[in-house]
């Protein structure tokens, strides 16, 4: 697996850091997220943990640039990310995807190359190579002509991951990737994310299963509209902090 070369972290002296400062997102007048600040670097797997409606998906989308940020900055490798960065890849929640869209696995992965290939340009051989390598790395070669609905849940996740790899993204933003997967598919996805992180990518995923979090993730961010805590999983997942995360938000004005 190590032939997938990735020029990040371990190959350099410095770390590629993602720094989020004072992030705030509002929908109309309703505050969806406020006071998010954390810093992490590639090679890590970060879990976003919180109750339903706590803003997990919103945070993922805000980092990916899918929802406008009302305030705050996001810096990646020292430069501010204004709206969208090609090095960020967003993987939607399963129910947000139109699975009946007539597109094959390969077609989906090719979409990851659109930003590089431009709107009109032909696919260059390096684009084709990137698509082939991504399909290979995620063991999708035999499935490449399948329509995306004809895949199992785990394979669907892999197809979207392959698109992110083809895009040469360094930061993978996943919205509830483990939801709806059976145990075997879950553990496969867990190993896969571990491998992708060790190759030097930064993985940020919303997650709701507290029991599996310590083994699947390195760091955790507890969220209840505002940031409750951020740090290594073992230090953050304490009964006291979890109580505060999942408390009925009556105290919040």
């Amino acid at each position: 697996m190590s032939e997938v070369h990735h020029d990040c972290c371990e190959h350099h002296d410095h770390h590629h850091e993602l720094v989020v400062e004072n992030l705030r997102v509002t929908y109309r007048r309703h505050v969806a997220l406020d006071g998010i600040r954390f810093a992490t670097s590639c090679g890590n797997r970060v879990a976003l943990i919180g109750a339903n409606g706590a803003g997990k998906s919103t945070l993922i989308k805000a980092i990916a640039g899918l929802v406008p940020r009302a305030a705050g900055t996001i810096r990646w490798r020292g430069t501010a990310v204004k709206k969208w960065s090609r090095e960020f890849a967003y993987l939607p929640q399963r129910e947000e995807v139109d699975w009946s869209f007539p597109i094959t696995v390969r077609g989906l992965v090719e979409m990851g190359r659109y930003p590089q290939a431009g709107w009109w340009g032909r696919f260059s051989s390096s684009d084709e190579d990137a698509v082939d390598r991504a399909l290979e790395a995620l063991e999708l070669v035999d499935l490449r002509e399948r329509q995306i609905r004809e895949l199992s849940g785990g394979q669907q996740q892999r197809a979207f991951l392959a698109r992110a790899i083809a895009q040469e993204a360094h930061v993978l933003l996943l919205d509830e990737p483990f939801t709806g997967l059976d145990r075997r598919a879950s553990s496969q996805l867990g190993e896969l994310l571990d491998r992708l992180a060790r190759e030097g990518r930064l993985i940020i995923a919303s997650h709701h299963d507290l029991r599996s979090a310590p083994e699947l993730f390195d760091e955790a961010l507890l969220l209840s509209t505002r940031q409750v805590a951020f740090g290594p999983v073992a230090e953050v997942l304490t009964p006291e902090l979890l109580d505060r995360t999942f408390a009925v938000p009556a105290a919040i004005e």
Partner: protein, 261 residues
């Protein structure tokens, strides 16, 4: 032929957007458009009808995209409100016009009455549609598949939606003379709907739809000549029966295939 092809090609988008009903709404809009054209020009000529229909279809189509910008009102809802209003206006004006008889041509089409100038217009619109769709294929696909991701990647999603609707209106108007207001929907929906029962490849949906549209149009013309039927309806009936056959017998998604497995 070309109209069949370009409409069939574009029908890929219609099917992808699940917009069949919008198309039929738009096609109805052309009636008030034509009445308006007559009212303004004072007579039913090719040009007045054509411009009227184009104007109305563009206005209603783009208007619905604009209204739905606020996200509060779905585009289908906006479209329904706007087009019924326009249609009502058309129906209200209609009795005051003297050319009601001829209007039937426009409702149901008369492909053999198509003149040379019309042919060139259709040819122009057909090529324009094909050209722009092919050029903008990638951003359009992204827009249709994941609008919010496309927006984040810098695709001007809103303009894309305007363009798609404008092309839709153009294609409708182009097929107006061949098959008429009401039936033009068939040309814009049936081909890709049929192909979508066979393939999972997005590009095939477009080219196959185009091919099927062209074949359907050609065989429609031939059959209608042989059986002495009106041409426009025959074309649509051909396309409709092809769809029915595909629905029954497609190896992938057909009803019979599903039953066997």
């Amino acid at each position: 032929m070309l109209i069949g092809f370009s409409n069939g090609f574009f029908s890929g988008f219609v099917v992808l957007r699940r917009h069949a009903l919008s198309v039929s709404a738009l096609s109805h809009t052309m009636l008030p458009g034509i009445t308006l054209g007559i009212l303004v020009a004072g007579a039913l000529t090719q040009l007045s009808a054509f411009l009227g229909a184009l104007f109305a279809a563009l206005l209603v189509g783009l208007g619905s995209v604009a209204v739905s910008r606020g996200k509060r009102i779905a585009q289908g809802t906006a479209l329904a409100v706007i087009y019924t209003t326009a249609f009502a206006a058309g129906v209200a004006i209609l009795p005051h016009l003297e050319t009601r008889q001829e209007l039937e041509h426009w409702l149901f089409g008369d492909i053999l009455a198509v003149g040379n100038a019309d042919l060139w217009t259709m040819f122009g619109i057909g090529s324009l549609t094909l050209l722009s769709v092919n050029l903008l294929m990638r951003p359009m696909l992204l827009t249709l598949f994941e609008p919010n991701v496309a927006a984040a990647q810098g695709v001007p999603v809103r303009s894309m939606q305007y363009i798609i609707f404008a092309l839709l209106a153009l294609s409708l108007v182009a097929s107006l003379q061949a098959v008429g207001c009401v039936l033009s929907v068939g040309l814009l929906v049936a081909p890709a709907a049929t192909v979508s029962l066979f393939t999972d490849r997005t590009s095939l949906l477009f080219w196959g739809g185009g091919l099927l549209g062209a074949i359907g149009s050609l065989s429609g013309v031939l059959i209608s000549a042989a059986l002495n039927l009106s041409t426009g309806p025959t074309i649509v009936m051909v396309l409709g029966s092809l769809f029915l056959l595909a629905w029954l017998f497609s190896p992938r998604y057909g009803v019979l295939a599903a039953r066997r497995s």
